[in-house]
């Protein structure tokens, strides 16, 4: 009889879990819709600004234009110090979403270590921060609470710190890693070299005339464009990551709900079997009692 009670208790607990996971799935679905919309709206702008910048990079390298701006485009052969900014979620329960990003960061760190390059980490999101703290890896800066509600000012703050170090020559390269939204059921890891800006891989936009800048006298335009580019890339990484996080969580919770249902079915079967067994035992007891009375 104890067995019966125990199974019943288990069924109840699994059913409660199922309720929770289903609720979480619904919440994620609702949030995903909003986050996805935001990400999709910004995607065009992010793509365009990257295109424009890589066009400029191509031209600047072609004509060897000097000045402040040129440092942004200078693809050095030797890199001594790299900043990695990576974005993870603040919360767990979203499958392999955070681990994927963390693994990529670790792989990159190992690669750079082999090349004797110093790597500094800037972590965005509690999960990434916690992981590396636990591992005893030093984080240059960590931001918690940004990835669940991205806003432009926060993005500015994060990226400007990294860019300031780059401008002062403290670092030679800044890499931005985030797990981005691909579609409802899959995420895509994105690793972007923020600075120095790479030339376009395809040379189809081969307009070879020298580029003029207007206003021409100073580099205000280049600087303002660069600023926009950095900030927007960071901001886009945050919203893209949020959309991906929700889609990952939705999927994880969907799986969890399905597993719970399966488990309930199995337990119910076991419960019925146990009940039948106990009935049979009781019957046998009665029958054998009656038999012995004869």
């Amino acid at each position: 009889m104890a067995n019966l009670k125990e199974i019943k208790r288990k069924i109840k607990s699994v059913e409660n879990t199922k309720k929770t996971t289903r609720a979480m799935k619904l919440v994620s679905t609702a949030k995903l819709r909003r986050a996805e919309m935001a990400a999709r709206k910004s995607k065009v702008y992010a793509q365009k600004i990257n295109e424009v910048l890589s066009d400029i990079a191509q031209k600047i390298n072609q004509y060897k234009i000097g000045g402040i701006g040129s440092r942004y485009f200078d693809l050095k052969d030797t890199v001594d110090k790299v900043d990695i900014i990576f974005v993870t979620a603040d919360k767990g329960l979203c499958g392999g979403f955070n681990i994927q990003t963390i693994k990529e960061v670790q792989t990159l760190m190992r690669e750079y270590k082999d090349k004797k390059v110093k790597v500094r980490l800037r972590a965005v999101g509690r999960k990434g921060v916690d992981f590396f703290r636990f591992q005893g890896v030093e984080l240059l800066s960590s931001y918690i609470g940004v990835s669940s509600s991205p806003d432009y000012e926060k993005a500015q703050e994060i990226i400007n710190e990294a860019i300031a170090d780059f401008e002062n020559g403290v670092t030679d390269k800044v890499i931005l890693i985030h797990n981005g939204y691909k579609n409802m059921i899959s995420q895509e890891l994105k690793v972007v070299d923020i600075v120095p800006i790479e030339e376009p891989k395809s040379t189809q936009s081969a307009s070879l005339s020298l580029m003029e800048l207007e206003p021409a006298e100073d580099e205000t335009i280049l600087n303002s464009l660069m600023k926009k580019y950095f900030e927007y890339n960071m901001y886009y990484a945050l919203i893209d990551s949020l959309a991906a996080e929700h889609s990952a969580r939705m999927q994880a919770m969907d799986n969890a709900t399905n597993n719970a249902s399966e488990r309930v079915n199995k337990l119910t079967l076991a419960y019925n079997k146990a009940r039948q067994e106990s009935i049979t035992t009781e019957l046998i007891e009665i029958i054998s009692g009656v038999e012995s009375m004869k």
Partner: protein, 131 residues
């Protein structure tokens, strides 16, 4: 006929993407027109009106508050912070869009001249269209 590929994008999405005959942009150093085969240029834009001449000869207006334009021989890319396309199927929709556009330019409001110029431009083109 030669055309330019014009794209206007803002953080809120794409406002305009099509082949056009010419486009007039409100550069920070003054207004300038772009025809196909224009030399490469990157320019800062100030608050104002982008006047687009479509392939069919019609004009379309887009108000922008601040941004950058990248121009090369075959394409013009405008990256704006905010942009309002002045389009509509009827009078009231157009009037609505004009109101929004004026508000957008006024919100930047670095100079009264820019606002006045933009408004004058909208009015003149609307008049042309109506006549």
């Amino acid at each position: 006929m030669e055309t330019l590929k014009l794209e206007i994008v803002t953080p809120d999405g794409q406002i305009f993407a099509d082949d056009v005959k010419t486009v007039t942009l409100p550069g920070s150093e003054g207004e300038f027109g772009v025809l196909p085969h224009h030399a490469s240029l990157v320019s800062l834009l100030s608050a104002g009106i982008i006047d687009i001449e479509l392939v069919n000869g019609n004009h379309e207006l887009v108000a922008v508050d601040w941004g950058h334009a990248e121009i090369d021989e075959a394409k013009v890319t405008v990256l704006a912070d905010g942009a309002v396309a002045i389009v509509g199927n009827n009078e009231s929709a157009i009037a609505d869009a004009i109101g929004k556009a004026k508000k957008l330019i006024e919100s930047i409001g670095d100079s009264d001249i820019a606002i006045a110029m933009a408004e004058a431009k909208i009015d003149s083109i609307m008049k042309q269209r109506n006549s």
